[in-house]
C-alpha cells in the first residue's frame, strides 16, 4: 500500500477573500508500504495540515492523495488518525471506545466485545475495560486511542504529536510500545513530532518541513538497526543533523 502525495498545496483564505495564508506549498511525497515515517519542522509549518488532508479532515487547494496509484476519495475508516488530545469519547468506557469502529461496521455486540478485549489485553490495559476515560492517565488514554484506531484495521495510521503531552518517562514507554505495535502489524505510520529524539528512535525515515508555507526540505533515512540505543554515537549523529536542520529553518524564518 504505497501512499503518494502529488502536488499537494493548501492555501487558507479568510472570509473576506482578501487575506490568504499559504500553509503548504507543493508537497510531493511517497511513503512506502509499512514504512515508519516521521515529520519534523517548525511550529505552524503545515505538518498537521498535511496529515489532516491525508485523513480527509481538510481538502487540499490543489493536488491529491493516491494509494497504490489510485486517488484516495474516501479516507474515512481507511486511514486511521491518532490525536495529541486522545479524543476518546468520555461517555464510553475503554471497551466501548475501542469497539466504536466495529459498531460502525455493524459487527454484533458479543464479537465486538471479544475483539476489543483482545486488543485491550494486548495493549496492557487488561482490567480497565469498563473504566471511563476520566479515570485514566494520559499514557493509558493514548493506548486506548491507538487500540481504537488499530482495531478498524486501517492501511495507514497518521499520528499528530500523539505523545506530545506526556511526561518523558511515559513517553519513552509508549515509544517502545508503538514500535512493537508497528513491528507486529506492519502498518504504514506517518508520525508528526516536535521531539527529535523521538523521531530518530522510531523512524525508518525522517522528513523535515521548512517554515510556512511548508515544503519538504529534508529527507533522512535512519540507518540504525533495532533496538536503537538513544545514547549511541550513531543516534547522536542523526539527532545533530536534524537539530541543525531545524535551527536553519528557524533562522531562515526570522
Amino acid at each position: 500500500m504505497t501512499l503518494e502525495l502529488r502536488n499537494l498545496r493548501k492555501t487558507y483564505t479568510d472570509g473576506t477573500g482578501e487575506g490568504s495564508v499559504d500553509a503548504l506549498s507543493t508537497i510531493n511525497l511517497t511513503v512506502r508500504e509499512g514504512e515508519f515515517l516521521s515529520v519534523v519542522g517548525p511550529s505552524g509549518c503545515g505538518k498537521s495540515t498535511m496529515l489532516r488532508i491525508i485523513a480527509g479532515l481538510e481538502q487540499p487547494t490543489t493536488g491529491a492523495v493516491f494509494i497504490n496509484g489510485e486517488q484516495l476519495e474516501d479516507p474515512w475508516g481507511r486511514v486511521g488518525f491518532v490525536f495529541q488530545e486522545y479524543a476518546l469519547f468520555p461517555w464510553r468506557t475503554v471497551s466501548e471506545n475501542v469497539e466504536f469502529g466495529l459498531e460502525l461496521k455493524n459487527i454484533p455486540g458479543k464479537e465486538r466485545r471479544r475483539k476489543a478485549l483482545e486488543y485491550i489485553n494486548k495493549f496492557g490495559m487488561g482490567g480497565f475495560e469498563d473504566t471511563y476515560p476520566r479515570d485514566l492517565s494520559g499514557g493509558m488514554k493514548q493506548r486506548v486511542a491507538i487500540a481504537r484506531t488499530l482495531i478498524t484495521n486501517p492501511s495507514i495510521i497518521l499520528m499528530d504529536e500523539p505523545f506530545g503531552s506526556l511526561d518523558s518517562q511515559t513517553r519513552n514507554a509508549l515509544q517502545e510500545f508503538l514500535l512493537t505495535v508497528w513491528q507486529n502489524s506492519r502498518k504504514t505510520i506517518i508520525f508528526v513530532t516536535h521531539n527529535i529524539d523521538e523521531a530518530v528512535f522510531l523512524s525508518q525515515r525522517v522528513i523535515g518541513f521548512s517554515d510556512r508555507p511548508g515544503s519538504i526540505k529534508l529527507s533522512l533515512e535512519i540507518g540504525i538497526p533495532a533496538p536503537r540505543d538513544r545514547t549511541s554515537a550513531d543516534f547522536n549523529r542523526y539527532r545533530k543533523e536534524i537539530l541543525s536542520f531545524l535551527q536553519q529553518q528557524s533562522t531562515a524564518g526570522r
Binding site: 479532515l57 474515512w76 475508516g77 479524543a87 476520566r134
Partner: protein
C-alpha cells in the same frame, strides 16, 4: 464528620425558625399578618387532614399540580430537546429560527395566560400550556448550546474511524450534549414549577391545585394556610430538583 456536616447544614434554618417563633411568642409580630412557625405547621396539618376547601386535602392539591407540571414539562422536553439538537446541528435552521426564538423567549409565560384562556379555556390544558412555556426555553437553549459546544475533535475522531453523518449525530453529538440537556431540564422544571402556581391563580376547573388552594386561603383570610401552601411549593420544588440530580448522577456516571 460527614454526619456532623449534614446536621450543621440544617442548623442555621432551624435557628432562624426558633428566632421567628420567639419573636412571635413575645407578640412582636402581628399574627394576623405573619403567623408563627407553630401556627404554620398546624396550618399545614389542617390542610393535610381537613383540606381546603374542606374535603380537598393537601395531598390532592399536590397531586393535581404535579400532574399539570408533568404534562407541560413532558411536552416541553419532547419538543425542546429534538428541536434544540436540530438547531444546533443545522446552521441554516439556527439562522432562520434564532430571531424568532429570541423574540418569543422574553415574553413571560404569565403574559400568555389571557391567550391560553382564549385558546384552551380555563382548566388543565391552559395550565399545562403555561408550564410548557416556562419549561420550553431553558430546555431548548441548553440543548442548542450543548450541541454547539461539542468538542470538534470528537467529531473528527468519529469521522476518521469511519462514521458518517447519521452515526456522528447519534453516537457523538447527542451523548456529548447530554450534560447540557440535563442542565436545561433542571432549570426548565424549576421554572415550570414556579409558573404553575401563578397559572393556577387564574383559576382551575377541577378544584385542585396548590396555587388554587393558596387563593382560597387568602379569600378566607388565613395567612397561616397561605404560608403553609407556599412552604409546600418550595419543598416540592426542592425535592423535584434533588430527584433530577440523582437521576443525572446516575445517567452521567462518566463525568
Amino acid at each position: 464528620m460527614n454526619y456532623f456536616k449534614e446536621k450543621s447544614r440544617l442548623l442555621f434554618p432551624l435557628l432562624l425558625l426558633l428566632l421567628w417563633q420567639a419573636v412571635s411568642t413575645l407578640g412582636l409580630l402581628p399574627s394576623s399578618k405573619i403567623p408563627s412557625p407553630v401556627q404554620i405547621i398546624s396550618g399545614i396539618k389542617e390542610l393535610a387532614l381537613v383540606g381546603l376547601p374542606s374535603g380537598s386535602s393537601l395531598f390532592m392539591h399536590c397531586f393535581e399540580s404535579l400532574l399539570r407540571v408533568t404534562a407541560g414539562f413532558t411536552m416541553a422536553a419532547a419538543i425542546g430537546i429534538p428541536l434544540g439538537i436540530l438547531i444546533g446541528w443545522l446552521r441554516f435552521l439556527r439562522n432562520m429560527l434564532t430571531p424568532i426564538i429570541e423574540t418569543i423567549r422574553p415574553i413571560p409565560p404569565l403574559a400568555w395566560i389571557p391567550l391560553a384562556i382564549l385558546w384552551f379555556g380555563i382548566g388543565f390544558k391552559s395550565a399545562a400550556f403555561i408550564i410548557f412555556l416556562g419549561c420550553f426555553f431553558p430546555i431548548l437553549l441548553s440543548t442548542i448550546s450543548g450541541v454547539l459546544s461539542v468538542d470538534k475533535i470528537l467529531i473528527e475522531a468519529a469521522k476518521t474511524l469511519g462514521a458518517k453523518e447519521k452515526k456522528i449525530f447519534l453516537n457523538v453529538l447527542v451523548p456529548a450534549a447530554t450534560p447540557s440537556i440535563f442542565t436545561g431540564i433542571r432549570i426548565g422544571l424549576g421554572i415550570g414549577w414556579m409558573t404553575l402556581v401563578a397559572a393556577e391563580f387564574t383559576g382551575v376547573k377541577s378544584g385542585y391545585g396548590l396555587g388554587y388552594m393558596i387563593m382560597v386561603a387568602r379569600d378566607i383570610q388565613r395567612p397561616d394556610l397561605v404560608i403553609g401552601g407556599m412552604a409546600t411549593i418550595g419543598l416540592m420544588g426542592y425535592l423535584l430538583d434533588v430527584a433530577l440530580r440523582k437521576l443525572e448522577a446516575r445517567m452521567l456516571q462518566w463525568r
